[in-house]
Subunit: 416 residues, 2 copies
């Protein structure tokens, strides 16, 4: 039997894929779906989040994004999500180019026909409307905007880099940005549209995963793993912290997917990087797509949900295992969101949470068999846990050997 | 029997005082202690809150402040609050002038010996340490600070006005302000110390009132009053909204203390003025006294609680019956609190609430018998509900005829 340690979006997805294959699996987590997955905005944005030295992460992200439609459709079916309700769907967007495929009719089985080079059509044939509605998966692109002259210059350089990589981005004037998103501040000088980027509601995804696991009879043990059981050089199971009973679960394989806490159970180079995020409630959606900006040197993003909520994120703080929502964190989010979209001031604050992203020395996740027999790792996803969920589950299942090499634990010494 | 409509700090206090006199009384409220009292900071600050045209409100506030020590001591005894724990008391203050009487030993029975002209000694003999600890009543003064040159000039004019009225205020340089409160921003240019002003935790006061009422057997009916029962020109009781049973409560006298909602039951000129407030959690107290500043033209205040919490308030918004916590409201509070005390950025956000202050056309409360037999009013306390609680209960009991005239419903036409 496999034991998956951690019921965040990564651990739950791995358990679900294993269960679909018919493998016996158990998940252990004292508080399922309440960590980084709960605090994540859910951007599936490998294009607009590309950074200069991290082409391997881009490859991984693009591969995972291409898996998301089928992943979502299968999950929706397995979790028996309710059918699509057109009344709850986001309103049609002003820009037809990014609204393609949003017609509401169910299509499926064409998950591999899309591609990042066909702007806007990516998800068109790849996911049923039911899955899209149930997980709030949307493929309306990401708009990066610039304020000052310096910001615009930086965005121009980023666009040149993206074009060199062959990524589908479109440079826009300030006026064009506001035509796409009329609620943007008048001071926006220009932008960059990554029309193939997408997003999803991570809380709906983990809820669907929990439902799918329950339907497949996968046990979810609500306990904390205090240590890995070892027999010589081999990992043979997990020990549970009291008062859990039985106190041990033997396993052929332990999959360690405990995010920032992975380093407490094995010698893995992950560290917690705190993020604070806010959900605002709106009767009318303020935005049709994800919007991000660099404001006074701080990146802020706004992610619209289908139910009218607007997610504002996200700080990055290196403070250890600190999950306090702070006055300073809230202040920065509110200040920068106001700069981007002044209309947010009128919205109700529905929720504020902090989570811990598991960072690694090279910003790439650590996925695959460790040097220790019986121990597989699936951690260190830093800012990309939601995006990288499908490819992580695939790598753990032994697929995608090429990508697996990128994420291999073997690149670090002394993992055990 | 009297029926008090409204279980905020005003209604509960009136009911408690009536019960102490042996009068049969019933309180009706669908959600006791959850409105403006729950959102109030609890400043007892008639001196530092004086404004140019409102000397009557000053008289009322000073009279009520002088009643607070005895009120608190009697309430603490009646609610059987736990005895004083020196370990939980605030630390001694650097300025001896405002820390007098903070020794922790119980004193009582000298409630009338203090006075606003003896700086710092006001509460010294007036309240037992037990009552002080249980209600978090503190008399360490209010410090008003100025940032820019304009703010300093405005504060100087206010000081001159206060001095003309004979109020005990002390002008301070920026350095003197920081000596009193070392966490103040370096940009503070000067200040004004109102050493006799005080504050209390309104949530502890309403909790104590509820306990005292329960001990005295006063019924608290958890229902909404849908209308006043009338017989000709006379009010004879209240009708309760379904599903309450019985649907009516007859009364010799109805005391309407429903805050902003009073206008829904009688023809009273009150309007809701929204305030948003935030509680921050701190291991160490950041401040030794209340601090207030005018920042970019917006007043903000910080009120330290005995348990280390810091209350930041409060917006003033005329938006009708809107109690949403908004992004804009939070933003303003955080922005201005950071300007005053930069260290707040590190504090955890414990709680954010919005409440509705009952405003009146002349900013004075409306207290006393209405023109309608059987109906007494105790509403319209705007920003002063907590401060004015003792004097309001006294006026309803027929005391303080002189002050009663100031607050009389008779000053408005057509109240009924």
């Amino acid at each position: 039997m496999d034991v998956v340690v951690g019921a965040g979006i990564i651990g739950l997805s791995i358990a679900w894929r294993l269960a679909r294959e018919g493998r016996p699996v158990t998940v252990v987590d004292p508080a399922p779906a309440s960590g980084a997955s709960h605090a994540a905005a859910g951007m599936l944005a490998p294009v607009s989040e590309v950074t200069y030295t991290e082409e391997p992460l881009l490859r991984l992200g693009l591969a995972s994004l291409s898996r998301w439609p089928a992943f979502a459709a299968e999950l929706a079916a397995d979790a028996a999500l309710p059918p699509h309700d057109p009344a709850s769907a986001p309103s049609p967007l002003p820009n037809g180019a990014t609204g393609a495929g949003d017609g509401g009719e169910a299509t499926s089985g064409a998950g591999t026909t899309g591609g990042i080079d066909s702007a806007g059509g990516f998800f068109g044939g790849g996911i049923s409307a039911a899955a899209r509605a149930g997980l709030d998966l949307r493929a309306d692109g990401m708009l990066d905007v610039a304020f000052g002259a310096d910001d615009l210059a930086a965005l121009g350089e980023l666009a040149a880099f993206m074009e060199k990589l062959g990524l589908p981005v479109e440079r826009l004037t300030g006026r064009e940005c506001r035509r796409l998103e009329p609620m943007l501040a008048p001071s926006v000088r220009g932008g960059l549209l990554a029309a193939t980027d997408a997003w999803v509601d991570p809380r709906r995804v983990t809820a669907a995963l929990l439902a799918a696991l329950e339907r497949r009879g996968v046990p979810l043990v609500p306990a904390r793993v205090s240590e890995l059981l070892r027999d010589g050089d081999r990992v043979t199971g997990v020990r549970l912290a009291p008062p859990a009973s039985p106190g041990e679960i033997p396993a052929e394989r332990v999959v360690l997917a405990a995010g920032s806490w992975s380093g407490e159970l094995a010698n893995v180079p992950v560290r917690p990087v705190k993020g604070q995020i806010m959900r605002l409630r709106s009767a009318q959606p303020l935005l049709g797509r994800c919007v991000r900006g660099l404001v006074h040197g701080t990146p802020v993003y706004l992610v619209p949900r289908g139910d009218g909520e607007l997610v504002v994120g996200g700080t990055q703080e290196e403070l250890g295992f600190d999950t306090r929502v702070t006055a300073g964190g809230l202040y920065e989010l509110l200040r920068d969101a106001r700069e981007l979209v002044p209309g947010v001031t009128e919205l109700e604050v529905a929720d504020v949470v902090a989570g811990l992203r598991p960072g690694t020395p090279d910003n790439l996740p650590i996925i695959g068999p460790s040097g220790t027999p019986g121990l597989t790792l699936a951690t260190g996803h830093f800012r990309g846990g939601v995006l990288l969920t499908p490819v992580t589950a695939a790598i753990v299942q032994g697929e995608d050997a090429d990508l697996a090499t990128l994420c291999s634990p073997a690149r670090f010494r002394d993992i055990s």
